[in-house]
Subunit: 253 residues, 2 copies
C-alpha cells in the first residue's frame, strides 16, 4: 500500500484515499445548516449501519477532535456542495462555501477496516487496480428522520470465496466503521442491477472465484440529501475521505 | 425472580422494575422540548456509555417502536417532572404534564443485563433484598453538548469476587445497555464517598467477599437536567423504568 502520515495525506492527497495513511481511521463528511442538524443526527441514530457517527462539530467550527490540527474546510481531497438536493460544485477546497451555521458530522468509513483486511491476506481489488471503491444505491430505504429520508448506499468489494467468512468476521468487529457486511453474493438482493455501473466510484474487475461483498456506506447521507433536498449541504466527494489521527484499531471491539 | 409480561408490568408495576419482565429490555426516559432535542441527542452521542439511545419519538408522540401498544405518558411506574432543573413533581402518570413539543429519548438500562447475570449465577443483591439498585453521582464530567452538561451517574452492584470477571464479560457484550463496568473496586476512584448513601435508589448490603462493580447509568441525563436547567423535562423516576417488548438478547453482540 501507498501510505503516509494522516497529516501528510490531508495536505497532499488529490484523489480517493483508499490505501492511504495505513492504520488510521477515515471518515465521511456531511455538514448541514444548524436547523437540519437534529435530523441528520437522528437519521444517523436510526440508521447506525450506514451512519455510525464518530464526531460532531460545534456550529460553524471546522475543527474536530478526530484530528485537532485539521481544517475540515480544506483538508479533504474533494468536496461536494449541494443546494436544494442538487450537486452544484465539486471543489478541492470548501472554505469559500463554508457557513457559520454549519454543523459537520464525521461518519465512520469502511476504508478504516481495509488495513485489517489486507493484514489478513484479503486482497483489495480497488486498491490493487488503482480505482475508487465502487458504491451503489440500494432499494433498501433508511428509517426516515423528520424531513430526511433516502435509500441506503453500499460499497462493494470482490473477495475470494474462501476469504469471505474471514472478511465478515474482521469487519463485524468494527461496527463504528460499518461493521459486518449487509449482504454477500447476489447484487439483485439489494436492487443493484449491474456491478459494472456503480452509482459512485469506479467499477472494479473481479478475479475468478471472487464473491461481491456489500457494506453499508457513509455516502448514504448524500443519497438522503438528493432525496430530501435540504437547502444546503457540504459533503466529501465519494471515496475522497477525511483522514483522521485516530488509529483504526481504536474502533475494534 | 418475580416476572410477568412486559405489558402486564407496564400496567401494574408501582415500584422499581428490577427483576420484573424477566428477559425483556428496560429503558430510561428523558423527554425535553423540541428545541433541546438536538442537545440531548448530541449529549448521548458524546457519552455513549451512560446514554446509549435505543429509540427517539416524534415530537409530541407518546408512542415508541420499542413497545407499540404502550403510552409513554402513563406506562412507567413513576415519573419525575423538572422545571428549570428543579424536581417539581413525581407522578405515577405524566399525562397531565405532557406537552406537544416533547421529544422522548429511550436509553438503555442496566436492568436489561440482569437476567443474563442471574442465569450465569451472579447474585443480584438489590433484587434479593427487595430494594432499588443504588446509584451514585460521580466526579467524572460527561462531554458537554451545547447547553447540556453534567456528571456521570453510575449504578452499583455488589458481586462476589470470584464472579467479577464473569459479570464484566457478560455485560461487556451488551453495549446498548451500558456494557462493561466503568469501574470495579474502590468507590473513591469515582469520587463516591459512601456506598451506604446513594444519590438515587437504595443502599444494598454486601455479603462477605463482595466487590462493588459500577456501571454507567441512564440517570445521567437527570444529573444533566439538574446541572443545566432546561426549562422543562420529564424523566422516569430512578429505577422505575419503561419495560419494552424487546427481548434482552437483542442487545447482545
Amino acid at each position: 500500500m501507498t501510505t503516509g502520515t494522516p497529516r501528510h495525506v490531508r495536505r497532499t492527497a488529490t484523489g480517493p484515499t483508499a490505501g492511504l495513511a495505513d492504520g488510521y481511521a477515515q471518515a465521511n463528511l456531511i455538514a448541514v445548516p444548524q436547523d437540519w442538524a437534529y435530523e441528520v443526527l437522528l437519521f444517523a441514530q436510526r440508521n447506525p449501519k450506514p451512519c455510525p457517527v464518530l464526531n460532531v462539530t460545534d456550529p460553524g467550527s471546522p475543527r474536530t477532535a478526530l484530528a485537532p490540527d485539521a481544517d475540515l474546510r480544506r483538508d479533504l481531497p474533494r468536496y461536494r456542495v449541494w443546494r436544494d438536493g442538487e450537486l452544484t460544485a465539486e471543489p478541492t477546497d470548501a472554505t469559500a462555501h463554508w457557513r457559520d451555521d454549519l454543523v459537520a458530522f464525521l461518519i465512520g468509513c469502511s476504508f478504516t477496516f481495509e488495513s485489517a483486511l489486507a493484514r489478513a491476506g484479503v486482497p483489495l481489488r480497488h486498491v490493487d487496480q488503482g480505482r475508487n471503491v465502487p458504491m451503489y444505491v440500494t432499494d433498501r430505504e433508511c428509517r426516515p428522520a423528520g424531513r430526511l429520508h433516502g435509500p441506503m448506499v453500499v460499497s462493494m468489494r470482490y473477495v475470494p470465496a474462501d476469504l469471505v467468512e474471514q472478511a465478515r468476521e474482521i469487519t463485524a468487529r468494527m461496527p463504528a466503521v460499518h461493521g459486518a457486511p449487509v449482504h454477500v453474493g447476489d447484487p439483485s438482493a439489494l436492487g443493484v442491477k449491474d456491478l459494472d455501473q456503480p452509482d459512485f466510484g469506479d467499477a472494479t474487475t473481479p478475479h475468478d472465484g471472487d464473491v461481491p461483498m456489500f457494506w453499508a456506506c457513509g455516502v448514504t447521507p448524500q443519497a438522503a440529501v438528493m432525496a430530501s433536498a435540504p437547502p444546503f449541504a457540504i459533503t466529501h466527494a465519494p471515496g475522497h475521505m477525511f483522514v483522521t489521527d485516530i488509529r483504526d484499531d481504536t474502533y475494534r471491539v
